[in-house]
Amino acid sequence: MKSVTKPYRPISWPMKGAGGDTGSWRAHRPVIDNQICTKCQICWVYCPEAVIDRNEITIDYRYCKGCGVCAVECPTGAISMLKEEE
């Protein structure tokens, strides 16, 4: 609905979720094992989607596309890719 008081301007503003809730694209879900994780931040630096929290090493599943780069690059193997259930 267009607002009557605010004129419509075709300008985009920086916001999360510009491509929608991209978590629904995911076929495999990365799961971090906090017992093995050494918090080296390699997953954080290579994540193309910026969904990994740098200090806590947690994943924002709302936007994670499940590419699996973090699981391949993790030096200790703390991230495993589990199949997404229906």
Binding site: K16, A18, T22, V45, P48, K65, C67, G68, V69
Partner: protein, 312 residues
């Protein structure tokens, strides 16, 4: 000394939930570029995957003012904006530090279609940074051949493998006598961060080329993006170097290959992982074709080694 991962700043300029494919090397590289450039910048985009990644209209996936421009005008548009900013400061409409003007362009907009405008901007030495994220094909339109596609690679317009070699665009830009040229790749984020930070503080035209292995165009498994980028550097198919005022210096680990301290890995493993070279490896003359690609790489390494000795 390269910046380590833990020293990189927290700032995020690529926002979560953008429209890029999962495992996109372009957004991976743009995140690191964003950490170096900061918020005070203006981004120009020619038609490329990066424009599709911006997302849908009320929202924008990048935290910069973005301008979408014509395919051939990356150099000229950036020149116009940087000149306009300087005039605005002269007239007193802008205070403080001027924003960095940078264009984020694919290899089509740099090597082929945008080359004339880019060459002219380099010749004028305008104060811009031109980033080329090189995925070695026109991947946005469904993988067509570009000037950056290497010999033997399958694209939809070269179904039997490309017959010609790629051109050395970064060296071409160095020959324009611009103050700073660099090559980088996504597997070495600290190296890329340092180069962007250095380019930001140099006045004049800067050119940075980033190898971005696109899993759709190169036909490898999605999680292997960073690994493929690392293999390209270790096999010598991609050399990491920077040229400051015409003087070339190589970065780790390409410096080891150039100086002869370490042998470049054979190109076979790098080729086998990529589906785009499958046709080449299945035919009866597979060995001679691999030897041709290895020859291209060896020639490039030998040439760059000799070129780096010229410091005048």
């Amino acid at each position: 000394m390269t910046t380590s991962i833990k020293q990189l700043p927290d700032i995020e300029q690529v926002l979560s939930g953008n429209g890029a494919c999962g495992g996109c090397p372009a957004t991976m590289a743009l995140r690191i570029v964003g950490k170096a450039l900061g918020t005070n910048a203006i981004m120009l985009l020619t038609p490329s995957c990066a424009v599709a990644s911006m997302g849908m209209t009320p929202r924008l996936g990048y935290n910069w003012p973005c301008i979408n421009i014509c395919f051939a005008t990356a150099g000229s548009s950036a020149s116009g904006i940087t000149h306009a900013l300087e005039i605005m400061r002269e007239k007193g409409r802008l205070q403080g530090e001027l924003p960095t003007v940078f264009s984020w362009v694919g290899d089509g907009g740099t090597y082929d279609i945008g080359f004339q405008a880019l060459s002219a901007a380099a010749e004028r030495n305008d104060n811009i940074i031109h980033f080329c994220y090189n995925n070695e094909a026109y991947s946005n339109t469904g993988v067509q051949r570009s000037g950056a596609t290497p010999r033997g690679a399958f694209t939809t317009t070269t179904p039997a493998g490309k017959r010609q070699t790629k051109k050395n665009m970064a060296l071409l830009m160095l020959e324009h006598n611009i103050p700073y040229v660099a090559t980088a790749t996504v597997a070495y984020p600290g190296d890329l961060y340092d180069k962007v930070l250095k380019a930001r503080n140099i006045p004049g035209m800067k050119y940075i080329e980033i190898l971005a292995p696109c899993y759709l165009g190169w036909q490898f498994d999605m999680p292997e993006t960073v690994r493929m980028s690392r293999m390209a550097v270790r096999s010598g198919a991609w050399l990491l170097w920077e040229g400051e005022n015409g003087k070339i210096s190589f970065n780790h680990p390409s410096s080891l290959i150039i100086s002869g301290k370490k042998e470049a890995a054979p190109v076979d493993e790098y080729l086998i992982k990529q589906g785009r070279f499958n046709r080449l490896l299945k035919g009866p003359d597979a060995e001679s074709r691999i030897a041709a690609i290895q020859g291209d790489i060896n020639r490039e390494i030998a040439f760059m080694r000799e070129r780096a000795k010229i410091t005048v």
